[in-house]
Protein backbone atom coordinates (compact mmCIF):
# COMPACT_ATOMS: atom_id res chain seq x y z
CA UNK A 1 0.00 0.00 0.00
CA UNK A 2 1.46 3.29 -1.06
CA UNK A 3 -1.67 5.40 -0.78
CA UNK A 4 -1.97 8.45 -2.97
CA UNK A 5 0.91 10.08 -4.74
CA UNK A 6 0.71 13.45 -6.43
CA UNK A 7 3.67 13.99 -8.75
CA UNK A 8 4.54 17.34 -10.31
CA UNK A 9 0.92 18.16 -10.86
CA UNK A 10 -0.08 21.34 -12.61
CA UNK A 11 -3.69 22.18 -13.21
CA UNK A 12 -5.38 25.04 -14.97
CA UNK A 13 -9.00 25.81 -15.71
CA UNK A 14 -9.75 27.62 -18.96
CA UNK A 15 -9.04 30.96 -17.30
CA UNK A 16 -5.77 30.32 -15.55
CA UNK A 17 -3.40 28.20 -13.53
CA UNK A 18 -4.81 26.92 -10.27
CA UNK A 19 -2.21 24.42 -9.09
CA UNK A 20 1.50 24.76 -9.58
CA UNK A 21 3.90 21.83 -9.32
CA UNK A 22 2.22 19.96 -6.48
CA UNK A 23 4.17 17.03 -5.02
CA UNK A 24 2.60 15.07 -2.21
CA UNK A 25 2.61 11.58 -0.92
CA UNK A 26 -0.14 10.41 1.38
CA UNK A 27 0.44 6.98 2.93
CA UNK A 28 -2.30 4.51 3.72
CA UNK A 29 -3.83 5.27 7.10
CA UNK A 30 -2.83 8.92 7.23
CA UNK A 31 -5.27 11.69 8.11
CA UNK A 32 -4.32 14.80 6.20
CA UNK A 33 -5.88 18.26 6.29
CA UNK A 34 -5.58 20.70 3.40
CA UNK A 35 -5.54 24.33 4.46
CA UNK A 36 -5.35 27.58 2.59
CA UNK A 37 -7.30 30.70 1.76
CA UNK A 38 -10.26 30.65 -0.63
CA UNK A 39 -8.98 30.08 -4.14
CA UNK A 40 -5.71 28.51 -3.00
CA UNK A 41 -6.61 25.26 -4.78
CA UNK A 42 -7.89 23.00 -1.99
CA UNK A 43 -11.10 21.99 -3.74
CA UNK A 44 -9.28 21.56 -7.05
CA UNK A 45 -6.75 19.29 -5.40
CA UNK A 46 -9.56 17.20 -3.89
CA UNK A 47 -11.21 16.91 -7.31
CA UNK A 48 -7.91 15.93 -8.92
CA UNK A 49 -7.34 13.29 -6.23
CA UNK A 50 -10.82 11.91 -6.91
CA UNK A 51 -10.01 11.66 -10.60
CA UNK A 52 -12.98 13.69 -11.85
CA UNK A 53 -10.52 16.39 -12.89
CA UNK A 54 -7.39 15.40 -14.77
CA UNK A 55 -4.06 17.18 -14.18
CA UNK A 56 -2.95 19.45 -17.00
CA UNK A 57 0.52 18.09 -16.37
CA UNK A 58 1.95 15.48 -14.04
CA UNK A 59 0.16 12.51 -12.60
CA UNK A 60 -1.63 11.20 -9.57
CA UNK A 61 -1.16 7.60 -8.53
CA UNK A 62 -3.45 5.47 -6.43
CA UNK A 63 -1.55 2.52 -4.97
CA UNK A 64 0.99 2.86 -7.74
CA UNK A 65 -1.32 3.12 -10.76
CA UNK A 66 -2.01 6.39 -12.48
CA UNK A 67 -5.60 7.62 -12.10
CA UNK A 68 -5.64 8.28 -15.84
CA UNK A 69 -5.41 4.56 -16.50
CA UNK A 70 -8.15 3.60 -14.06
CA UNK A 71 -11.84 3.56 -14.93
CA UNK A 72 -14.21 5.78 -12.99
CA UNK A 73 -15.91 2.67 -11.69
CA UNK A 74 -12.64 1.26 -10.37
CA UNK A 75 -11.71 4.56 -8.75
CA UNK A 76 -15.14 4.82 -7.11
CA UNK A 77 -14.57 1.42 -5.54
CA UNK A 78 -11.49 2.78 -3.80
CA UNK A 79 -12.01 6.50 -3.33
CA UNK A 80 -15.15 8.12 -1.93
CA UNK A 81 -15.79 11.84 -1.83
CA UNK A 82 -17.87 13.93 0.55
CA UNK A 83 -18.37 17.35 -1.02
CA UNK A 84 -19.52 20.51 0.76
CA UNK A 85 -23.14 19.93 -0.11
CA UNK A 86 -25.31 17.85 -2.35
CA UNK A 87 -28.56 19.14 -3.70
CA UNK A 88 -30.95 16.30 -4.54
CA UNK A 89 -33.94 17.41 -6.58
CA UNK A 90 -35.98 14.23 -6.10
CA UNK A 91 -37.63 12.83 -2.99
CA UNK A 92 -35.16 10.04 -2.16
CA UNK A 93 -35.07 8.66 1.36
CA UNK A 94 -31.85 8.76 3.35
CA UNK A 95 -31.35 5.02 2.95
CA UNK A 96 -31.87 5.28 -0.81
CA UNK A 97 -29.17 7.95 -0.92
CA UNK A 98 -26.81 5.76 1.11
CA UNK A 99 -27.57 2.89 -1.28
CA UNK A 100 -26.27 5.12 -4.10
CA UNK A 101 -22.86 4.48 -2.56
CA UNK A 102 -23.17 0.94 -3.91
CA UNK A 103 -23.48 2.24 -7.49
CA UNK A 104 -19.89 1.35 -8.46
CA UNK A 105 -20.54 -2.25 -7.43
CA UNK A 106 -23.86 -2.78 -9.21
CA UNK A 107 -24.44 -4.01 -12.73
CA UNK A 108 -27.07 -2.18 -14.79
CA UNK A 109 -29.94 -4.61 -14.30
CA UNK A 110 -28.87 -6.37 -11.13
CA UNK A 111 -30.66 -5.68 -7.89
CA UNK A 112 -28.77 -4.83 -4.75
CA UNK A 113 -28.02 -8.00 -2.82
CA UNK A 114 -27.65 -9.01 0.82
CA UNK A 115 -24.11 -7.61 1.00
CA UNK A 116 -25.15 -4.24 -0.37
CA UNK A 117 -27.97 -4.02 2.14
CA UNK A 118 -25.72 -5.03 5.00
CA UNK A 119 -23.13 -2.41 4.04
CA UNK A 120 -25.78 0.30 3.80
CA UNK A 121 -27.10 -0.76 7.18
CA UNK A 122 -23.61 -0.73 8.69
CA UNK A 123 -22.87 2.68 7.25
CA UNK A 124 -26.11 4.11 8.68
CA UNK A 125 -25.25 2.58 12.04
CA UNK A 126 -21.63 3.72 11.99
CA UNK A 127 -22.64 7.30 11.32
CA UNK A 128 -25.41 6.98 13.92
CA UNK A 129 -28.35 7.84 11.69
CA UNK A 130 -30.33 4.59 11.60
CA UNK A 131 -33.40 6.48 12.75
CA UNK A 132 -33.17 8.72 9.68
CA UNK A 133 -33.16 5.81 7.21
CA UNK A 134 -36.72 6.27 5.96
CA UNK A 135 -36.81 10.06 6.22
CA UNK A 136 -36.70 12.11 3.06
CA UNK A 137 -33.22 13.39 2.34
CA UNK A 138 -34.35 16.85 1.25
CA UNK A 139 -36.26 17.35 4.50
CA UNK A 140 -33.23 16.72 6.71
CA UNK A 141 -31.18 19.47 8.31
CA UNK A 142 -27.79 20.39 6.88
CA UNK A 143 -25.94 18.40 9.53
CA UNK A 144 -28.12 15.33 9.04
CA UNK A 145 -27.72 15.53 5.27
CA UNK A 146 -23.96 15.70 5.63
CA UNK A 147 -24.05 12.56 7.78
CA UNK A 148 -26.17 10.78 5.15
CA UNK A 149 -23.61 11.72 2.50
CA UNK A 150 -20.83 10.47 4.75
CA UNK A 151 -22.72 7.20 5.18
CA UNK A 152 -23.10 7.00 1.40
CA UNK A 153 -19.36 7.46 1.00
CA UNK A 154 -18.73 4.72 3.57
CA UNK A 155 -21.09 2.36 1.74
CA UNK A 156 -18.58 2.61 -1.11
CA UNK A 157 -16.11 0.82 1.20
CA UNK A 158 -13.40 3.27 0.24
CA UNK A 159 -9.74 2.95 1.16
CA UNK A 160 -9.37 6.68 0.74
CA UNK A 161 -11.96 9.20 1.86
CA UNK A 162 -11.78 12.70 0.41
CA UNK A 163 -13.74 15.47 2.09
CA UNK A 164 -14.16 18.96 0.69
CA UNK A 165 -14.78 21.30 3.61
CA UNK A 166 -17.27 18.81 5.05
CA UNK A 167 -18.21 21.05 7.96
CA UNK A 168 -18.44 24.40 6.26
CA UNK A 169 -22.21 24.89 6.56
CA UNK A 170 -22.65 23.18 9.90
CA UNK A 171 -23.00 24.40 13.45
CA UNK A 172 -20.20 23.69 15.89
CA UNK A 173 -21.84 20.58 17.38
CA UNK A 174 -22.26 18.97 13.96
CA UNK A 175 -18.76 20.03 12.91
CA UNK A 176 -17.29 18.22 15.90
CA UNK A 177 -19.54 15.22 15.39
CA UNK A 178 -18.49 14.80 11.77
CA UNK A 179 -14.81 15.24 12.54
CA UNK A 180 -14.91 12.86 15.53
CA UNK A 181 -16.55 10.30 13.27
CA UNK A 182 -13.99 10.68 10.51
CA UNK A 183 -11.20 10.55 13.05
CA UNK A 184 -12.58 7.34 14.57
CA UNK A 185 -12.84 5.74 11.12
CA UNK A 186 -9.24 6.73 10.48
CA UNK A 187 -8.00 5.33 13.78
CA UNK A 188 -10.36 2.35 14.02
CA UNK A 189 -10.48 1.12 10.43
CA UNK A 190 -7.30 2.55 8.98
CA UNK A 191 -9.25 4.64 6.50
CA UNK A 192 -6.98 7.12 4.73
CA UNK A 193 -8.46 10.61 4.93
CA UNK A 194 -7.68 13.79 3.02
CA UNK A 195 -9.89 16.72 3.88
CA UNK A 196 -9.94 20.33 2.80
CA UNK A 197 -10.59 22.36 5.95
CA UNK A 198 -11.37 26.00 6.47
CA UNK A 199 -11.27 26.07 10.26
CA UNK A 200 -7.63 26.08 11.36
CA UNK A 201 -8.38 25.23 14.98
CA UNK A 202 -10.49 22.20 14.13
CA UNK A 203 -7.85 21.12 11.62
CA UNK A 204 -5.17 21.35 14.32
CA UNK A 205 -7.28 19.27 16.70
CA UNK A 206 -8.26 16.43 14.39
CA UNK A 207 -5.47 16.00 11.83
CA UNK A 208 -1.98 14.60 12.30
CA UNK A 209 -0.64 16.20 9.18
CA UNK A 210 -1.55 19.50 7.61
CA UNK A 211 -0.72 20.85 4.19
CA UNK A 212 -0.89 24.57 3.71
CA UNK A 213 -1.58 25.83 0.19
CA UNK A 214 -0.99 29.31 -1.10
CA UNK A 215 -1.85 30.39 -4.63
CA UNK A 216 -1.74 26.84 -5.90
CA UNK A 217 1.55 25.86 -4.32
CA UNK A 218 2.39 23.82 -1.25
CA UNK A 219 3.56 26.36 1.30
CA UNK A 220 4.05 24.04 4.25
CA UNK A 221 3.57 20.35 4.97
CA UNK A 222 3.95 18.77 8.38
CA UNK A 223 2.45 18.35 11.82
CA UNK A 224 0.05 21.01 13.09
CA UNK A 225 2.87 22.35 15.23
CA UNK A 226 5.14 22.76 12.21
CA UNK A 227 2.52 24.22 9.88
CA UNK A 228 0.37 26.46 12.04
CA UNK A 229 2.90 29.05 13.13
CA UNK A 230 2.18 32.75 13.45
CA UNK A 231 4.62 33.49 10.63
CA UNK A 232 3.17 30.99 8.15
CA UNK A 233 -0.43 31.93 8.88
CA UNK A 234 0.38 35.56 8.39
CA UNK A 235 2.19 34.80 5.09
CA UNK A 236 -0.58 32.68 3.69
CA UNK A 237 -3.76 34.27 5.02
CA UNK A 238 -2.42 37.83 5.52
CA UNK A 239 -4.16 37.76 8.87
CA UNK A 240 -2.63 38.69 12.13
CA UNK A 241 -3.10 35.96 14.70
CA UNK A 242 -1.52 34.69 17.84
CA UNK A 243 -0.83 30.98 18.22
CA UNK A 244 -1.07 29.45 21.67
CA UNK A 245 -0.99 25.84 22.78
CA UNK A 246 -4.45 24.31 23.11
CA UNK A 247 -5.21 24.11 26.84
CA UNK A 248 -6.09 20.41 26.68
CA UNK A 249 -4.13 18.86 23.85
CA UNK A 250 -1.27 21.24 23.32
CA UNK A 251 -1.79 21.51 19.54
CA UNK A 252 -1.62 25.01 18.10
CA UNK A 253 -4.64 27.11 18.89
CA UNK A 254 -5.13 30.19 16.76
CA UNK A 255 -6.40 33.31 18.39
CA UNK A 256 -7.60 35.99 16.01
CA UNK A 257 -6.34 39.48 16.76
CA UNK A 258 -8.90 42.07 15.64
CA UNK A 259 -7.41 45.07 13.88
CA UNK A 260 -7.09 48.27 15.88
CA UNK A 261 -7.29 46.67 19.28
Amino acid sequence: MTGLEVRQVYFSYLDGLVLHNINLSVKAGEMVGLLGPNGSGKTTLIKLASGILKPTQGEIRLDGSSLRQLSRRFIARHIAVVPQQFHVPFAFTASEIVMLGRTPFLRPLSEENETDRRLVNNALELVGIKELAQRRFDELSGGERQKVILAMALAQQPKLLLLDEPTVHLDIAHQIEILELVRSLNVGQGLTVIAAMHDLNLAALYFDRLILLKEGRVWADGTPGQVLTEAKISEVFSASVRVEPHPLTGVPHIVVMPKGK
Binding site: P89, A91, L100, P108, A133
Partner: protein, 353 residues
Protein backbone atom coordinates in the same frame (compact mmCIF):
# COMPACT_ATOMS: atom_id res chain seq x y z
CA UNK B 1 -33.96 -2.88 6.23
CA UNK B 2 -34.60 -6.25 4.64
CA UNK B 3 -38.28 -5.62 5.16
CA UNK B 4 -38.04 -2.35 3.27
CA UNK B 5 -36.26 -3.99 0.36
CA UNK B 6 -38.93 -6.68 0.19
CA UNK B 7 -41.56 -3.96 0.29
CA UNK B 8 -39.76 -2.21 -2.55
CA UNK B 9 -39.80 -5.34 -4.70
CA UNK B 10 -43.43 -6.03 -3.97
CA UNK B 11 -44.26 -2.41 -4.65
CA UNK B 12 -42.47 -2.62 -7.99
CA UNK B 13 -44.39 -5.69 -9.04
CA UNK B 14 -47.70 -4.32 -7.77
CA UNK B 15 -47.31 -0.92 -9.42
CA UNK B 16 -46.26 -2.39 -12.76
CA UNK B 17 -49.09 -4.90 -12.64
CA UNK B 18 -51.61 -2.18 -11.87
CA UNK B 19 -50.35 0.06 -14.66
CA UNK B 20 -50.16 -2.86 -17.08
CA UNK B 21 -53.81 -3.69 -16.43
CA UNK B 22 -54.75 -0.02 -16.87
CA UNK B 23 -52.91 0.05 -20.17
CA UNK B 24 -54.74 -3.03 -21.46
CA UNK B 25 -58.07 -1.65 -20.24
CA UNK B 26 -57.42 1.63 -22.03
CA UNK B 27 -56.49 -0.28 -25.20
CA UNK B 28 -59.75 -2.20 -25.16
CA UNK B 29 -61.79 0.87 -24.36
CA UNK B 30 -60.19 2.90 -27.13
CA UNK B 31 -60.75 0.06 -29.62
CA UNK B 32 -64.43 -0.19 -28.73
CA UNK B 33 -65.42 3.43 -29.14
CA UNK B 34 -65.33 5.70 -32.14
CA UNK B 35 -67.48 6.66 -35.08
CA UNK B 36 -68.86 3.12 -34.87
CA UNK B 37 -69.12 1.53 -31.44
CA UNK B 38 -68.14 -2.13 -31.40
CA UNK B 39 -68.93 -4.33 -28.38
CA UNK B 40 -65.91 -5.42 -26.36
CA UNK B 41 -66.68 -9.18 -26.52
CA UNK B 42 -66.72 -8.95 -30.30
CA UNK B 43 -63.35 -7.20 -30.30
CA UNK B 44 -61.89 -9.87 -28.05
CA UNK B 45 -63.22 -12.68 -30.24
CA UNK B 46 -61.98 -10.98 -33.41
CA UNK B 47 -58.57 -10.58 -31.87
CA UNK B 48 -58.45 -14.18 -30.67
CA UNK B 49 -59.51 -15.38 -34.12
CA UNK B 50 -56.65 -13.40 -35.62
CA UNK B 51 -53.85 -14.41 -33.32
CA UNK B 52 -54.68 -17.98 -32.42
CA UNK B 53 -56.43 -21.03 -33.72
CA UNK B 54 -59.75 -19.93 -32.22
CA UNK B 55 -62.65 -19.86 -34.60
CA UNK B 56 -65.48 -17.93 -33.02
CA UNK B 57 -68.47 -17.50 -35.32
CA UNK B 58 -68.61 -13.94 -36.60
CA UNK B 59 -71.34 -12.10 -34.70
CA UNK B 60 -70.09 -8.88 -36.27
CA UNK B 61 -70.12 -7.33 -39.70
CA UNK B 62 -67.06 -7.61 -41.90
CA UNK B 63 -66.77 -3.82 -41.96
CA UNK B 64 -66.41 -3.82 -38.19
CA UNK B 65 -63.47 -6.15 -38.46
CA UNK B 66 -61.91 -3.82 -41.00
CA UNK B 67 -62.48 -0.83 -38.75
CA UNK B 68 -60.83 -2.58 -35.82
CA UNK B 69 -57.82 -3.99 -37.63
CA UNK B 70 -57.19 -1.40 -40.29
CA UNK B 71 -58.16 1.85 -38.61
CA UNK B 72 -58.57 1.68 -34.89
CA UNK B 73 -55.89 -0.73 -33.71
CA UNK B 74 -53.01 0.92 -35.58
CA UNK B 75 -54.06 4.23 -34.12
CA UNK B 76 -54.51 2.88 -30.59
CA UNK B 77 -51.16 1.12 -30.70
CA UNK B 78 -49.67 4.27 -32.16
CA UNK B 79 -50.99 6.05 -29.08
CA UNK B 80 -49.35 3.52 -26.75
CA UNK B 81 -46.03 3.94 -28.55
CA UNK B 82 -46.18 7.72 -28.51
CA UNK B 83 -47.11 7.81 -24.83
CA UNK B 84 -44.51 5.26 -23.76
CA UNK B 85 -41.78 6.95 -25.81
CA UNK B 86 -42.53 10.48 -24.62
CA UNK B 87 -42.93 9.52 -20.96
CA UNK B 88 -39.68 7.55 -21.01
CA UNK B 89 -37.86 10.38 -22.76
CA UNK B 90 -39.30 12.76 -20.16
CA UNK B 91 -37.90 10.62 -17.31
CA UNK B 92 -34.52 10.45 -19.04
CA UNK B 93 -34.30 14.21 -19.59
CA UNK B 94 -35.63 15.18 -16.17
CA UNK B 95 -33.27 12.75 -14.47
CA UNK B 96 -30.24 13.77 -16.47
CA UNK B 97 -30.86 17.52 -16.45
CA UNK B 98 -32.27 17.52 -12.87
CA UNK B 99 -34.70 20.07 -14.12
CA UNK B 100 -38.39 19.99 -13.18
CA UNK B 101 -39.38 21.74 -16.38
CA UNK B 102 -37.47 19.33 -18.59
CA UNK B 103 -39.57 17.48 -21.12
CA UNK B 104 -38.65 15.53 -24.25
CA UNK B 105 -38.68 18.74 -26.27
CA UNK B 106 -36.43 20.79 -24.01
CA UNK B 107 -33.26 20.66 -26.07
CA UNK B 108 -34.82 21.38 -29.42
CA UNK B 109 -36.35 18.15 -30.71
CA UNK B 110 -39.74 19.82 -31.16
CA UNK B 111 -38.47 22.81 -33.12
CA UNK B 112 -36.23 20.57 -35.24
CA UNK B 113 -39.05 18.17 -35.99
CA UNK B 114 -41.41 21.03 -36.86
CA UNK B 115 -38.89 22.60 -39.20
CA UNK B 116 -38.17 19.25 -40.84
CA UNK B 117 -41.90 18.70 -41.23
CA UNK B 118 -42.40 22.14 -42.80
CA UNK B 119 -39.53 21.75 -45.23
CA UNK B 120 -40.80 18.31 -46.24
CA UNK B 121 -44.21 19.77 -47.10
CA UNK B 122 -42.49 22.40 -49.20
CA UNK B 123 -40.51 19.92 -51.22
CA UNK B 124 -42.32 18.62 -54.28
CA UNK B 125 -41.08 15.12 -53.67
CA UNK B 126 -43.14 12.03 -53.13
CA UNK B 127 -41.10 9.47 -51.37
CA UNK B 128 -42.02 6.51 -49.33
CA UNK B 129 -39.75 4.45 -47.16
CA UNK B 130 -41.00 1.59 -44.99
CA UNK B 131 -44.50 2.99 -45.14
CA UNK B 132 -43.38 6.47 -44.18
CA UNK B 133 -43.75 9.46 -46.43
CA UNK B 134 -41.12 12.17 -46.63
CA UNK B 135 -42.91 14.24 -43.98
CA UNK B 136 -42.57 11.93 -40.96
CA UNK B 137 -39.04 11.02 -42.02
CA UNK B 138 -38.14 14.69 -42.13
CA UNK B 139 -39.69 15.26 -38.71
CA UNK B 140 -37.70 12.34 -37.32
CA UNK B 141 -34.48 13.55 -38.92
CA UNK B 142 -35.10 17.16 -37.92
CA UNK B 143 -35.50 16.20 -34.28
CA UNK B 144 -32.30 14.16 -34.19
CA UNK B 145 -30.29 16.67 -36.22
CA UNK B 146 -31.27 19.46 -33.83
CA UNK B 147 -30.18 17.55 -30.74
CA UNK B 148 -26.90 16.74 -32.46
CA UNK B 149 -26.43 20.43 -33.26
CA UNK B 150 -27.34 21.58 -29.75
CA UNK B 151 -25.08 18.99 -28.13
CA UNK B 152 -22.11 20.00 -30.26
CA UNK B 153 -22.73 23.73 -29.86
CA UNK B 154 -22.67 23.27 -26.09
CA UNK B 155 -19.55 21.12 -26.13
CA UNK B 156 -16.39 22.80 -24.83
CA UNK B 157 -13.10 21.08 -24.10
CA UNK B 158 -14.46 17.53 -24.09
CA UNK B 159 -17.36 18.40 -21.82
CA UNK B 160 -20.96 19.36 -22.43
CA UNK B 161 -22.16 21.35 -19.44
CA UNK B 162 -25.89 20.92 -18.92
CA UNK B 163 -26.52 24.61 -18.52
CA UNK B 164 -24.85 25.38 -21.89
CA UNK B 165 -26.93 22.67 -23.46
CA UNK B 166 -30.18 24.09 -22.10
CA UNK B 167 -29.21 27.55 -23.34
CA UNK B 168 -28.12 26.27 -26.75
CA UNK B 169 -31.42 24.35 -26.89
CA UNK B 170 -33.45 27.50 -26.28
CA UNK B 171 -31.54 29.50 -28.88
CA UNK B 172 -31.56 26.83 -31.57
CA UNK B 173 -35.27 26.18 -30.95
CA UNK B 174 -36.12 29.85 -31.35
CA UNK B 175 -34.10 30.10 -34.53
CA UNK B 176 -35.78 27.05 -36.04
CA UNK B 177 -39.24 28.23 -35.04
CA UNK B 178 -38.48 31.55 -36.70
CA UNK B 179 -37.34 29.86 -39.91
CA UNK B 180 -40.47 27.74 -39.89
CA UNK B 181 -42.71 30.78 -39.45
CA UNK B 182 -40.81 32.55 -42.21
CA UNK B 183 -41.33 29.61 -44.56
CA UNK B 184 -45.02 29.46 -43.74
CA UNK B 185 -45.52 33.16 -44.35
CA UNK B 186 -43.78 33.22 -47.73
CA UNK B 187 -44.86 29.99 -49.34
CA UNK B 188 -48.33 29.41 -50.74
CA UNK B 189 -47.79 25.70 -50.71
CA UNK B 190 -47.49 25.82 -46.95
CA UNK B 191 -50.46 28.10 -46.50
CA UNK B 192 -52.50 25.53 -48.36
CA UNK B 193 -51.27 22.96 -45.88
CA UNK B 194 -51.68 25.15 -42.84
CA UNK B 195 -54.13 22.74 -41.35
CA UNK B 196 -51.66 19.87 -41.44
CA UNK B 197 -48.89 22.09 -40.04
CA UNK B 198 -51.22 23.14 -37.25
CA UNK B 199 -52.25 19.58 -36.59
CA UNK B 200 -48.60 18.54 -36.41
CA UNK B 201 -47.78 21.30 -33.94
CA UNK B 202 -50.70 20.40 -31.70
CA UNK B 203 -50.08 16.69 -31.90
CA UNK B 204 -52.24 14.28 -33.75
CA UNK B 205 -51.74 10.55 -33.90
CA UNK B 206 -51.62 9.89 -37.58
CA UNK B 207 -50.33 6.36 -37.83
CA UNK B 208 -52.23 5.29 -40.87
CA UNK B 209 -51.27 1.68 -41.13
CA UNK B 210 -49.42 -1.30 -39.75
CA UNK B 211 -46.26 -0.55 -41.71
CA UNK B 212 -45.47 2.54 -39.65
CA UNK B 213 -46.34 0.74 -36.44
CA UNK B 214 -44.03 -2.09 -37.45
CA UNK B 215 -41.12 0.34 -37.80
CA UNK B 216 -41.81 2.43 -34.70
CA UNK B 217 -42.60 -0.47 -32.35
CA UNK B 218 -39.09 -1.94 -32.22
CA UNK B 219 -37.63 1.57 -31.88
CA UNK B 220 -39.83 2.36 -28.88
CA UNK B 221 -39.59 -1.06 -27.24
CA UNK B 222 -35.84 -1.06 -27.79
CA UNK B 223 -35.56 2.47 -26.43
CA UNK B 224 -37.68 1.81 -23.37
CA UNK B 225 -35.69 -1.35 -22.64
CA UNK B 226 -32.32 0.38 -23.08
CA UNK B 227 -33.49 3.18 -20.80
CA UNK B 228 -33.94 0.66 -18.00
CA UNK B 229 -30.19 -0.06 -18.19
CA UNK B 230 -29.52 3.51 -17.09
CA UNK B 231 -31.76 3.35 -14.00
CA UNK B 232 -28.91 3.14 -11.46
CA UNK B 233 -26.96 5.79 -13.30
CA UNK B 234 -29.92 8.15 -13.40
CA UNK B 235 -30.35 7.65 -9.65
CA UNK B 236 -26.70 8.63 -9.24
CA UNK B 237 -27.23 11.67 -11.49
CA UNK B 238 -29.68 12.94 -8.84
CA UNK B 239 -26.56 14.04 -6.98
CA UNK B 240 -25.47 16.12 -9.96
CA UNK B 241 -22.81 15.40 -12.53
CA UNK B 242 -19.98 15.75 -10.06
CA UNK B 243 -21.67 13.46 -7.54
CA UNK B 244 -22.40 10.92 -10.26
CA UNK B 245 -18.74 11.01 -11.19
CA UNK B 246 -17.73 10.27 -7.60
CA UNK B 247 -19.98 7.21 -7.73
CA UNK B 248 -18.13 5.79 -10.68
CA UNK B 249 -20.31 7.04 -13.54
CA UNK B 250 -18.53 7.99 -16.76
CA UNK B 251 -20.48 11.22 -16.80
CA UNK B 252 -19.82 12.54 -20.30
CA UNK B 253 -20.33 9.15 -21.93
CA UNK B 254 -23.57 8.48 -20.04
CA UNK B 255 -24.84 11.96 -20.75
CA UNK B 256 -24.34 11.45 -24.47
CA UNK B 257 -25.99 8.01 -24.44
CA UNK B 258 -28.97 9.13 -22.35
CA UNK B 259 -29.49 12.18 -24.56
CA UNK B 260 -29.25 10.08 -27.70
CA UNK B 261 -31.70 7.55 -26.31
CA UNK B 262 -34.20 10.19 -25.17
CA UNK B 263 -33.96 12.01 -28.48
CA UNK B 264 -34.42 8.84 -30.48
CA UNK B 265 -37.56 7.99 -28.51
CA UNK B 266 -38.87 11.52 -28.95
CA UNK B 267 -38.14 11.51 -32.67
CA UNK B 268 -39.91 8.16 -33.05
CA UNK B 269 -42.98 9.54 -31.28
CA UNK B 270 -42.96 12.79 -33.19
CA UNK B 271 -42.78 11.02 -36.55
CA UNK B 272 -46.20 9.42 -36.01
CA UNK B 273 -47.93 11.99 -33.84
CA UNK B 274 -46.49 15.46 -34.23
CA UNK B 275 -45.78 17.39 -31.08
CA UNK B 276 -48.02 15.92 -28.38
CA UNK B 277 -47.32 18.11 -25.40
CA UNK B 278 -47.54 17.51 -21.67
CA UNK B 279 -47.11 13.72 -21.74
CA UNK B 280 -43.35 13.81 -21.30
CA UNK B 281 -43.64 16.44 -18.61
CA UNK B 282 -46.61 15.37 -16.58
CA UNK B 283 -46.44 11.56 -16.64
CA UNK B 284 -42.94 11.28 -15.10
CA UNK B 285 -43.86 13.85 -12.45
CA UNK B 286 -47.12 12.08 -11.64
CA UNK B 287 -45.43 8.68 -11.40
CA UNK B 288 -42.59 10.09 -9.31
CA UNK B 289 -44.98 11.84 -6.95
CA UNK B 290 -47.10 8.71 -6.61
CA UNK B 291 -44.47 5.97 -6.39
CA UNK B 292 -41.17 7.67 -5.56
CA UNK B 293 -38.11 8.75 -7.52
CA UNK B 294 -36.24 5.42 -7.93
CA UNK B 295 -35.64 5.13 -11.67
CA UNK B 296 -35.85 1.33 -11.56
CA UNK B 297 -39.58 1.74 -10.97
CA UNK B 298 -39.99 5.18 -12.50
CA UNK B 299 -38.85 4.18 -16.00
CA UNK B 300 -41.10 1.17 -16.69
CA UNK B 301 -44.01 2.68 -14.73
CA UNK B 302 -43.84 5.92 -16.73
CA UNK B 303 -43.76 4.01 -20.01
CA UNK B 304 -46.94 2.10 -19.09
CA UNK B 305 -48.69 5.15 -17.63
CA UNK B 306 -47.68 7.31 -20.62
CA UNK B 307 -49.06 4.72 -23.03
CA UNK B 308 -52.40 4.50 -21.22
CA UNK B 309 -52.61 8.28 -20.89
CA UNK B 310 -52.16 8.98 -24.60
CA UNK B 311 -54.55 6.19 -25.63
CA UNK B 312 -57.29 7.62 -23.41
CA UNK B 313 -56.52 11.18 -24.47
CA UNK B 314 -56.73 10.15 -28.11
CA UNK B 315 -60.04 8.36 -27.47
CA UNK B 316 -61.42 11.58 -26.01
CA UNK B 317 -59.97 13.59 -28.89
CA UNK B 318 -61.76 11.35 -31.40
CA UNK B 319 -65.11 11.02 -29.67
CA UNK B 320 -65.84 14.07 -27.55
CA UNK B 321 -66.85 16.41 -30.34
CA UNK B 322 -67.33 13.76 -33.06
CA UNK B 323 -67.34 13.99 -35.96
CA UNK B 324 -64.87 16.83 -35.28
CA UNK B 325 -61.51 15.56 -34.09
CA UNK B 326 -59.63 17.64 -31.53
CA UNK B 327 -55.82 17.48 -31.64
CA UNK B 328 -54.73 14.95 -29.01
CA UNK B 329 -52.24 17.48 -27.64
CA UNK B 330 -55.12 19.69 -26.56
CA UNK B 331 -56.64 16.81 -24.61
CA UNK B 332 -53.34 15.82 -22.96
CA UNK B 333 -52.92 19.41 -21.81
CA UNK B 334 -56.50 19.76 -20.57
CA UNK B 335 -56.32 16.51 -18.58
CA UNK B 336 -52.66 16.78 -17.69
CA UNK B 337 -52.48 20.23 -16.23
CA UNK B 338 -55.20 19.93 -13.55
CA UNK B 339 -54.06 16.39 -12.67
CA UNK B 340 -50.54 17.65 -12.21
CA UNK B 341 -51.72 20.52 -10.02
CA UNK B 342 -53.77 18.09 -7.94
CA UNK B 343 -50.75 15.84 -7.40
CA UNK B 344 -48.55 18.78 -6.51
CA UNK B 345 -51.00 19.98 -3.89
CA UNK B 346 -52.16 16.72 -2.38
CA UNK B 347 -49.20 14.39 -2.21
CA UNK B 348 -46.99 14.31 0.82
CA UNK B 349 -43.98 13.79 -1.41
CA UNK B 350 -44.16 17.32 -2.68
CA UNK B 351 -41.36 18.78 -4.70
CA UNK B 352 -38.40 20.61 -3.36
CA UNK B 353 -36.05 21.75 -6.05
Amino acid sequence: MVVFIKLRRNKLILVLLLLGVSLIASLLLASAFGAVDIPLPDILRMALNKVAVFDFPATWRAVEETIIFQIRLPRVIGGVLVGAALATAGVLFQGLLRNPMADPYIIGTSAGAALGFTIAILLPINLAFLGFGLVPIAAFGGALATVFLVYNLARVGGKTPIISMLLAGVVVSSLMAAIMTLLISIRDRLLLNLHSVYSFLMGNISATGWEQIAVITPLVIGGVTCARFFAFHLNAFSLGEEGAGYLGIEVERDKMLILALGSLLTAAAVSISGLVGFVGLVVPHAVRLSFGPDHRLLLPASALAGGAFVVIADLIARTMLAPVEIPVGVVTAIIGAPFFIYLLRHTRKEYAF
